[in-house]
Symmetry: C2
Subunit: 136 residues, 2 copies
DNA sequence: GTTGTTGTATTAATTCAATAATACAAGGTG
DNA sequence: CACCTTGTATTATTGAATTAATACAACAAC
């Protein structure tokens, strides 16, 4: 399991783990049914307390990314069953409201926001598939 | 100055003040040139330490929302001079990238995001002009 | 100059999230 | 059963962010 922790960048360790595993799943490097490393194993590998990993796994479980089987380990879920669509829409709506509040505050018009959104989408999509295109 | 503080909702007091003043400015209830209440006055009104209000005002100043005149008080800026467009675009780009990452993670397509964005924009715009529609 | 108002600076107390130490519970396998 | 591996629960420690106590500095009005 390729996970890198940076202890001094302000982002809590458990969050770094959550984010990186989310990314691995999103990228298809971890597929439904795959087993995650046991809590203790990953904790040891990262030189971190098992509770910290347990917390990360718990968050991933709540988010519907993984499921735990009591004494048998932690597995990537079948996806599609992560959260009901209604729930996901609710979360997305919150994020969008926040974005709108800030962009309005900064004096952007709606169509400017949408234009930038589309632009970033293509930029990001390209850098995901292609390889290292530049960012910025 | 109509500001309401909720001491028990997890959001730091200074941030609540910042957000509410930002909102007052955005809504036009506070106009360029208007004077904010003196730090001590607002602190007393909210039963809070003056430093807490000072911090809020400082953040508003950094954000370009207000300016301080040494011993004469704190005033809403002329706006238009808040942050250079390039700087604002940079910030907005960060927010948008974050939104895209999350929405992709949750399985939304770009046009779903845009559709919801447009929808929320009209909903919010309506509730702003109308008056107090429900918040929550 | 004195006084009263404005914002500022320094330091201390407090609170809370993150992490760790440690012990517990459940289930599979010989 | 005995044992090993899995995740869980409880409690303590730590460190950063928030808030407060208190004293300072600048300027305007008298």
């Amino acid at each position: 399991m390729q996970i890198r922790i940076n202890a001094h960048d302000g982002v809590p360790i458990y969050l770094q783990v959550v984010q990186q595993i989310r990314y691995l799943v999103a990228a298809g490097r971890l597929e439904p049914g795959d087993e995650l490393p046991p809590i203790r194993g990953l904790a040891e590998q990262l030189t971190v307390n098992p509770n910290t990993i347990a917390r990360a796994y718990r968050e991933l479980e709540v988010a519907g990314i993984v499921e735990k089987r009591r004494t048998a380990g932690t597995y990537v879920t079948d996806q599609g069953s992560p959260l009901a669509r209604r729930e996901r829409t609710k979360i997305l709506t919150e994020r969008i409201d926040q974005l709108l509040a800030e962009s309005t505050q900064m004096g952007f018009e709606l169509d400017e926001v949408i234009r930038l959104l589309q632009q970033r989408h293509t930029v990001i999509a390209r850098s995901q598939s292609g390889e290292n295109t530049h960012e910025q």
